[in-house]
Amino acid sequence: MDKIPKMKITILSAFLTLLLLMLGSCDSCQERKETVKEPALEEPGEPAYGDTIVVGSIGDASNLLPPLASDSASFDIIGLVYNGIVKYDKDLKIVGDLAESWDISPDGLEIIFHLRKGVKWHDGVEFTAEDVMFGYRKIIDPNTPTAYASSFEEVKEAEILDKYTFKVTYKEPFAPGLASWGNLVVLPQHLLEGEDITKSPLTRSPVGTGPYRFVEWKTGEKIVLEYNPDYFEGRPHIDRYLYRFIPEQATMFLELKAERIDEMGLTPLQYRRQTNSPDFLQKFNKYRYLSFGYTYLGYNLLEPKFQDIRVRHAISSAINKQDIVDGVLLGLGRVATGPFKPDTIWYNPEVKRYPYDPEKARALLEEAGWVDTDGDGILDKEGEPFSFTIITNQGNEQRKKSAEIIQRNLKEIGIEVKIHIIEWAAFINDFIDKKNFEAVILGWSLDPDPDQYDIWHSRKTKFKEFNFISYKNPEVDDLLVKARHTMDPEERRKYYFRFQEILAEEQPYTFLYVAESLPAIHSRFKGIEPAPAGIGYNFIEWYVPKHLQKYTK
């Protein structure tokens, strides 16, 4: 159950947030400098309308009503069918989507959205502020089984000023607030009013305002979308979008080679070793860019031996992170130094690093009292050998391999590591939620918004919360709260820079790597321009020159 790197950027700001990466690589965004495009042999030709793109996905979608969905396949579709009020542009700046503009009051408490006029739902009914209000009410309704209510619960009051003007007032200035008005909250009121939205037909046949209209969904097989001729940003060039579910990576790759699908995310092995024939490179373009997520080794800080900062420093120095990047990702990624994606404005490049240095690690451990007194090759202290278990979830090869490299690295300095791989539901329920672990390898996927309150604040250490390593630092708490309530990006950035310095110094996680997304796309598709936001942000401008079109009706 490999999760595929998400290739379409879905405007889902509110949302991509720090979802846990179930499987190593992921996500939509990419970086300009890191992007390497291996050129196809054909010329771009003239933009034209027509053709179909067939996208391979490992998972089937589950629910196409935005507040009820929570998997990347569903959001790939939702991103093309629905619009948000705002979205991220190619440089990850927030721009209007269904909003033409907005005003934020000087105290940062109020946002007034001026909505586009004349936008139509796919069934022809006009979109108005009522639809925004309806969506907002549904998402905070306790009867709606949605996972995304929390940023909307910061809203004190929402009101409709007129048909095209919508105003929200926050309890206190809330920096992630603006971005949260993405495409989770705009729902067609005229189709959902008075219904139990969980049982609405729209969960399976969505009606949005977006560039593509829903055509059909064959469970476990495919979803078909067709262009929306009246799309307010202009007619998309590619006529049809076909999303095919192929649950096995190997099968999908064969389908790609046989040109029966046009786009899929490659594994590092496929990228490096199986896609370099001239034939393949002529048929496909490969892209690579940093994904929005990182993998880490987290320590349970309730464990006495990990409470000693020297021990954490020692382990961080003993792990050869470059080896992991080279061995696990075949070099298609980079060493992580903190919880932000390198080369975003939030990333602090100047933090303390822990280059591979087993000598230093041994010295630190000795200083902390860990010496091999009985000569069995394993350090001990007060008669207790230094041994711990790393747990990680089943189904993620990259994490498993990382654990094996760490096991070897740490054995060299006299620490015995056991690896325990656990099926997901049991992993979360019995180990993470109950804090029943010593160390864990996991990943977070990141949102363009830098708020990480839920992962690092000391109040978030309770049952089912996300600071499950029990990290506590009053200064970090303070910085996270301040950054969250600061509307000025420059000031916010300073807080996050300091926050990264502290994390780097304290090493509550050993940050391991940021993987790259590795999509391959058929070379007849032109107009793909990698940017910090990924490649999907301008999907409606992708085109196939007339003479190269493959699927003509």
Binding site: A14, L68, P145, G220, K553
Partner: protein
């Protein structure tokens, strides 16, 4: 007969009830809940949201209460709604996959029977011949080869290198635009690899079974008698011996009724076939209790019915155990 039937059917009720209680209990013993998967360690999900989700699914009630609720709905033939995000009716989720799985299984079963029985008979009548040894090795290779590996090799050969057959799925992307004949050939082409792979793995059991039964039967006195009477070898083997040798096969067929609805996860995953195996696997992994229970109840009912059917058929084909004979 009717009396016997109704008695057997009545006996099934407590049995089924027992099965549901045990399965209900067992799946709850597995750690984790459907909500764990839905919230996926997403930091935007607060504990309150998680509790609301639990309450929404009724997971906050005591276990016996949940079971009784479920049973009460089942009595009205309502399998409930899935706990996954799609929130669809369990019966719909099963209904859209069942025909695919049954179709594939029936096809491969027919293929298995039509190949395995002749193999079995011939290797019995020509015991220790080259044919016997060759087919023995052949069927065991089929049995031993991992499905996914064979499937991948065949896909590379026929799908990528030769380009003769589609790689995965059940229909081409342009299926709807094809003529009727085109649709049929398209379907057939998509079925060749999966049916072959499924059948290849299943040959061993059936052919070996036929072979050993046949060997036993042709040593019986009545076969000797038939031969002594001067009947032709073919008539002896196919008319007298085969019929008796195939009797136990009915039991196997009866027992394979439930397996007709259970697909194989690996097989379906590699061929991207949306069948029951994947549905069951994913519902177990996501702790989608109503779907798990729905499929298991269906499987239990079919197993019991399959047994009953086998017993009845036995009576029909084997006069020695015909029920009427026991009357009085």
């Amino acid at each position: 007969m009717l009396q016997y039937l109704s008695k057997r059917l009545l006996q099934m009720i407590p049995l089924l009830l027992g099965i549901t209680i045990i399965t209900f209990a067992v799946i709850r013993l597995a750690p984790g809940e459907p909500t764990d998967l839905q919230t996926q360690l997403n930091p935007k999900v607060t504990v309150e949201a998680w509790e609301r989700l639990r309450a929404y699914y009724g997971l906050d009630k005591p276990l016996y209460r949940q079971y009784l609720d479920w049973l009460w709905r089942l009595l009205r033939l309502d399998f409930g709604r899935s706990f996954s995000q799609d929130n669809r009716k369990v019966i719909d989720k099963i209904a859209e996959r069942l025909p695919i799985t049954i179709g594939l299984n029936v096809l491969s079963m027919l293929l298995i029977i039509s190949i395995a029985i002749p193999i079995g008979v011939l290797s019995a009548t020509h015991q220790y011949s080259f044919f016997d040894k060759f087919t023995t090795v052949f069927v065991f290779i089929g049995f031993a080869i991992p499905t996914f590996w064979l499937a991948l090799l065949l896909m590379i050969l026929f799908g990528v290198n030769l380009g003769w057959l589609p790689i995965s799925g059940l229909k081409s992307l342009d299926y709807e635009s094809l003529s009727f004949l085109g649709m049929m050939t398209d379907r057939a082409k998509h079925l060749i690899l999966p049916v072959f792979v499924a059948a290849f793995g299943g040959l061993a059991g059936f052919s070996r079974y036929t072979r050993s039964n046949m060997l036993e039967v042709i040593r019986q006195d009545y076969i000797m008698t038939a031969k002594a009477k001067g009947l032709s070898e073919n008539r002896v083997v196919y008319k007298h011996a085969l019929r008796n040798a195939l009797l136990p096969v009915i039991t196997i067929l009866g027992l394979s009724v439930p397996s007709l609805i259970g697909g194989s996860v690996i097989f379906e995953t590699i061929f991207a076939i949306p069948g029951m195996g994947q549905l069951f696997f994913h519902s177990v992994m996501s702790r989608d209790y109503p779907v798990i229970m729905g499929i298991l109840v269906l499987g239990a009912v079919l197993t019991l019915l399959g047994n009953l059917l086998a017993d009845i058929c036995y009576g029909v084909v084997d006069p020695r155990i015909r029920l009427e004979g026991r009357k009085g």
